[in-house]
Amino acid sequence: LERSTNSFSYSSYHTLEEIYSWIDNLVTENSNTVSKIHIGSSFENRSIIVLKFSTGGSNRSAIWIDTGIHSREWITHATGIWLAKKIVSEYGKDHALTKILKAMDIFLEIVTNPDGFAFTHSMNRLWRKNKSSRPGIFCIGVDLNRNWKSGFGGNGSNKNPCSDTYQGPSPQSEPEVLAIVNFISGHGNFKALISIHSYSQMIMFPYGYSLEPVPNHDELYSLAKDAVNALYKVHGIKYIFGSISTTLYTASGIMVDWAYDNGIKYAFSFELRDTGHYGFLLPAAQIIPTAEETWMAIQTIMKHALNHPY
């Protein structure tokens, strides 16, 4: 396995073992700003790990970023790895990032669905859900982005355990979801949340479970527009934006709705590029351009959260 994050290939896809080993190297090499937090264990008992980027203070307001909740969306894990390296490389150089990290903490969960991700490498590259199984239920796995408490079981999720959008037997039934709920609720001071998916080139905000606009809809709409513009400037990739239910479709029990309903006013869901030809099989050559443009959109949201404390 790679001995250092500098010799690691950021323009390739990697296995779960390689990613976890890289995380250990990143923490070792940047122990003054990065730490690794074990927030729980997956259904198949793999560690669920969150990276914390902090320059001090205690219980500072914080920003949450996650990738890989749907395991076949490999471009998201690869983008998460690149983002983590970018943060440690640019702190102290990039003025905006340095300002953010002097006041806030950033938490990044790169492999939000470790069992599903391992399964895409071992058995089924196109697997989306986690790997939970229950007596009497014929099919495996729950869609981890339909298992959250907000709007659970509504339109846009599925009671059929064989469906790719199966909501699970009850809200937060899945250990991968409960681990995040407990961590974010326990921390209590998250101000922004960005959940990164692929694909279809969108930046969206709540609600998914309702067509009703959220109270600060106009602010989120304007912020999503700024983020899309910042992203476009990097490589000319066009995104659309808006609330989930009006831009894409009704989706119930999703993470960003739960975050918003639990006080995180700046909650966004990204759908990264596929440039119209590759879907979930985006070639590795597009990892770095995708990460570079995503970073600009994320920075736009982080800056807004920093400048609009609540």
Binding site: Y13, H14, Y199, Y249, H277, Y278, G279, L281, P283, A284
Partner: protein, 93 residues
């Protein structure tokens, strides 16, 4: 590893809600005939669906019979998967 040789991803632009509904009907068929990569959402958005090689003929006939135009976004999934795997092995070397 599951093999996806001959599986294709079809891209469909539904003209209206009726066509979207016909696409949604595909999801419920047993055994599963399509895996929606981009589900039927609204007429302005493309629908991408992976169709196993064994179902291709039926699904294309179904689309044609309802005058639903489609294009082939990925001609053979396994080719892309083999390239991906080779790229990972090369990078590891």
């Amino acid at each position: 590893q599951m093999n996806f040789t001959g599986d294709q991803v079809l891209r469909v632009i539904a003209k209206d809600e009726k066509q979207l509904s016909l696409l949604r009907d595909l999801e419920g068929l047993k055994p599963q005939k399509v895996d929606f990569w981009r589900g039927p959402a609204r007429p302005s958005l493309p629908v991408d669906m992976r169709v196993p090689f064994s179902e291709l003929k039926d699904v294309k006939a179904y689309l044609a019979s309802h005058d639903i135009a489609c294009s082939v976004m990925i001609k053979d999934i396994q080719v892309l998967l083999d390239e991906e795997r080779e790229a990972m092995a090369k990078s590891r070397r």
